[in-house]
């Protein structure tokens, strides 16, 4: 290969790579900024603890979070906050881990699926991701009609929630 071709090919390639890297750094910053916002809401919910309504599909609604977070904010050290973790590539697309620190301790680790909006990876995103207790569909025994638990023996049944439910309806 001629020197001219080698030099210009190298320069062009390096230039293109640097340009890609620069605009990629910008994308990464945006992504972590978005993560922070989403995560802050999550920490609010954590503070509030499991809220009653079974149907509530939006734990991020501000009101439930305010009480919890205001008290924790008062006591919290300055290291508190939400931190976007590493983006890990999986076959389901990139998954980002998000850590919430309050009172100087990790209170919440969440996996965010980042590709729900694009491509066919959504089809296969029925993937069991790590969740916090506050993030699963919440329930109080008052709001359910039946209870699923690991096989209970007859003896265990007597002290079980299902027994209480059954007793209320007999």
């Amino acid at each position: 290969m001629r020197i001219r071709a080698v030099v210009s090919a190298t320069l062009a390639s390096v230039g293109i790579l640097v340009a890609g890297w620069q605009s990629g750094a910008h994308v990464a910053n945006t992504a972590s900024a978005v993560g922070t916002t989403a995560g802050t809401t999550g920490s609010g919910t954590t503070g509030a603890g499991p809220s009653g309504s079974v149907g509530s599909s939006a734990p991020s609604s501000g009101t439930s979070g305010t009480t919890g977070s205001s008290s924790s904010t008062g006591a919290a050290a300055k290291a508190d906050g939400t931190f976007a973790g590493d983006v890990v590539q999986t076959r389901f697309g990139p998954v980002q881990v998000q850590v919430t620190v309050s009172g100087g301790a990790i209170s919440d680790v969440t996996a965010l699926q980042l590709t729900d909006d694009g491509g066919r990876s959504v089809q296969i995103s029925n993937y069991a991701a790590p969740l916090l207790r506050a993030e699963v569909l919440q329930a109080q025994s008052a709001n359910v009609q039946t209870i699923s638990g690991a096989t209970v023996t007859s003896d265990a049944y007597l002290t079980s929630l299902q027994a209480a439910l059954d007793a209320a309806h007999i």
Partner: protein, 276 residues
Amino acid sequence: MQPTSELGRPELKAKTFRRMGTVVSLTVPVGPEPWTAAAEATLADATGVVERRFGELDARFSLYRPESEASRLARGELSLREASQEFRDCYADAAEWRLQTEGAFTPERPDGVPDLSGLVKGFAIKEAGALLQSRGLADWCLNAGGDVLVAGSPIVGSRAAWQAGVVDPQDRTTLIAAYPLGGSTGGSTGGSTGPRALATSGSAERGDHIWTRGAGVSEFRQVSVAAADILTADVLATAIVAGGVRMLNRATSGWDVEVLAIRNDGGILATPGFRA
């Protein structure tokens, strides 16, 4: 997901009985009319039907009853070839599930004794459900030792789903999650029905019927699986407790199920359906 609260607390009636070493309860909603003696009789009759079916299967499959077919097989008095058609069918089903779960679910104890208890409860619930359906019951909830199969709605004539709670394995007096079963989520007619079955398996209680691979300790303390049918839910819950994260990933991508798995350290892995 709100109709329950809109329509008020559903009014229910329940009957329970003991079978298969656990308690089975059948719950039906009370309609707009007051609860009559006729309705009570219908429920008692339905419960009787379910109880008989559970009893028959228990008599055949229970390893707790020395005279059962399963016990005679375990003692070597009977070979699998001499077993009843029902036993062999059930064993064949279990073997098929073993294949599909790559061995995470197995119909045999480590000592080689056929043990169908992992399958029989689900099988009994399924059969009982079919009997209830055939008797024209539209709305009911059948709970056998924490494995749940529902039909219709807890409120007569509504689309509301049955709300099933999942026990917190760390504190059995509280719930860790809820999941809506049955009901109707679609448009005016023929709307799609959600999963009708929810089964939970655990390694804490009665751990003897879930054999973990390589005799190791299970990664999961408790696994709940929601599926269209109770057998799939039950088998996969058992298989995931035994097979760990591998089996969990296999289940979520191979079957149309929702999974809530609780690790030994209390951490939760859940599919989007369990997410608030």
